[in-house]
Amino acid sequence: MRLLTPVLTVAHLTLYETRRRRIVTAAVICAAAFLAVYTAGLFFVHREQIRASTPFAQQQIVMAFLAVAGLYGVNFLSILFAVLLPVDTLSGEIDSGVMHTIASKPVRRADIVIGKWLGHAVVVTGYVLGLSLGVMLSMRVVVGPVAVRPLEALPLIILEVLLLMTVSIAGGTRLSTVTNGVTALGFYGIAFIGGWIEQVGGFVGSHAARTVGIVASLISPADALWRLGSYRVQPDSLRNVGAAVFSTSSVPTTLMVWWAAAFMLATLIIAVRSFSTRQL
C-alpha cells in the first residue's frame, strides 16, 4: 500500500483538478446537448412510427439502428474527451514548471504517469458510462424495450477510449500540447479510415483493401473495438440489413481486443519510460 501511495496521491490530485477544469464542463454540456437532440429525435421517429402503424419488427429495426447511432455518438464524444482531457497533463505541467516541484519529491516518475493515467481513466470511464446510460434511458423511456445489447459494447468502447487516452498521455511526455493533440487525433484518424476501408473492402470483396484496413487497425486498433462493439450490440435483424452505416461486413475478432489491450499496456510502459528519461 505504501508503494501505491504516491500513485494514489497523484491520481487523487488529477481527479480533483479535473473536476474544476473547463474542458469537463464543456464535455458535460456537449453530452447534455447530445442527449437532448437524441431524445427529441427518438421521440419524433417513434411517434411517426406509431401514427403510421409501422409493423413491430420494422419498428425494432429502426430503433435498434438509432440505439447503435446513439452509442456511436457516445463513442465519438468520448474519444474527443479522452484525447483532449489529458493532452496537456504532462506537457503543460512541464512547460509551466509545476512538474519541477512534483518530480523533485521522493516519487518515481512512473508514479506520476500512472497516477495521472488512473485519475483520467476514472473520469473518462465515468463519462462513457454516463453518456451510455443517458442513451439507454432515453431509449427505454421514449420507446420501451429494444432488442439491443449495449452491455456487450460498453467494455469495448471503454477500452477504446482508454487506449486513446493512453496515447494522448504518452505523447505528452515528449511533445508540446498542440502537437500532442494533433498526433493523438491523427492516430485515431488512421484507425477510423482503416476501419472504413476494411468494411468497404469486405463488402465489395476486395481482399487487398481488407488487408490495408486490418494493417491500419493493427497500427491503431481503436476503431476496430468500436466496430466489434457495434456488431455485438446489434440484433440479427439489423446485421442482415446489408450495406448500412453500421453494418459490419468484416467483423474484428476477439484477438483484436487482446491486441488493443496489449497495445494500451505497451503504450503506458513507453510513456513511463519516456517520462522517466525526460530532462525536466
Binding site: 514548471g97 516541484t101 530532462q279 525536466l280
Partner: protein, 306 residues
Amino acid sequence: MTDLVIDTRGLRKWFGPTLAVADLSLAVRAGEIFGFLGPNGAGKTTAIKMLLSLVTPDGGEGRVLGAPLGDRETRGRIGFLPEHFRFHDCLTARELLRFHGRLYGRSGVELEMRIDRLLARVDLLEAADRPVHGYSKGMMQRTGLAQALLNDPALVFLDEPTSGLDPLGRLLVRDIISELRERGTTVFLNSHLLGEVEATCDRVAFVKQGKTIHEMVLGQSPDLIEVEMRISPIDRCMLEGLSSFGTGICQSSVDVVRMRVGSEEALPSLARWLVERGTSVYALRTRPKSLEEWFVEVMGEDQRPG
C-alpha cells in the same frame, strides 16, 4: 566520514549542441548557507536541476546528502523552491501543501499541524483556504516556500526565493533562512539579489559559462578589505612600493589610489611607509568590498551588458 552535503566533481550537461554546464565542482558543508551566483545563462538552474535529479548529468559525479545523484529516498530530505513557483490554481494553499506533504509520505494529524505551522510562518493562515488563483505573486512565492519546508528538510534549494516579494516579504525569507541556519539546515541559495546573498550566506560560489570559477567565504575573507587613499604625489615608484602591502592596486583619480590589504593590521605600517617616503596623506579609509563589486570583478567586465 565527510560533512559535505553537496559534493560534485566535474558535472557536465549538454542540451543538444549547447553546453549548459561545463564543469560544476562544488563542496557544500552541512549547516552552511551557500550562495550560488552567476549571470543569466551561466547554468545555475540546470546545475540545481541536476542536483535534484530533474536533469541527468552527461558527465562528472556527485553526491547529495551522502547519496549518489538521483537517489529517490534522499529527495525525501530535500526541499525545493523553484524560481517561478506555480501550481494548479484551483487548489487552495492548504490543499496544495497537503498534496505535497503526501508526496513526501506524510499524512494525518502530523501533516495538518505542520501545514498550519508553515502557513502561519509565511503569513498565509488567513488566505489558506482560498484558491491560489487569487493570490498575488508574493503570496504564491510564500506558498512555495512553505512547500519547500514541509518535510523539515536537511537541505533546501531556494531558486530566486525573493522573486516577486516586497521588502517585507524579503525580510521574511531572510528570517526563515536564519531560522534554518539555527536548526542546522543547509541552504543552497540561487539569487540575483546580491544584497540578499550578502546578508544571508556564509559562502558563495561564482559560476560562469557553466563552470565554478571562484568560491569565497563572506564576512571573513581578508581580501574583502579595500583601502581607499587620497595621497599626493602619486608616481609609478610609489605604486610599485604599495604592492608589498596588498593587491589590486589601482589609481582611480589624480590623487586617489585603491587597493586591497590582507587585514587591518597592515594599515598602520602602510600609513607609516607613505609618510616616511614624503607622501602627503589626506585620507585613508577602509571599506569592505561589496559582493556586487566582487561579482563584477570575478565575472569580468565582458559580462557587463551594453
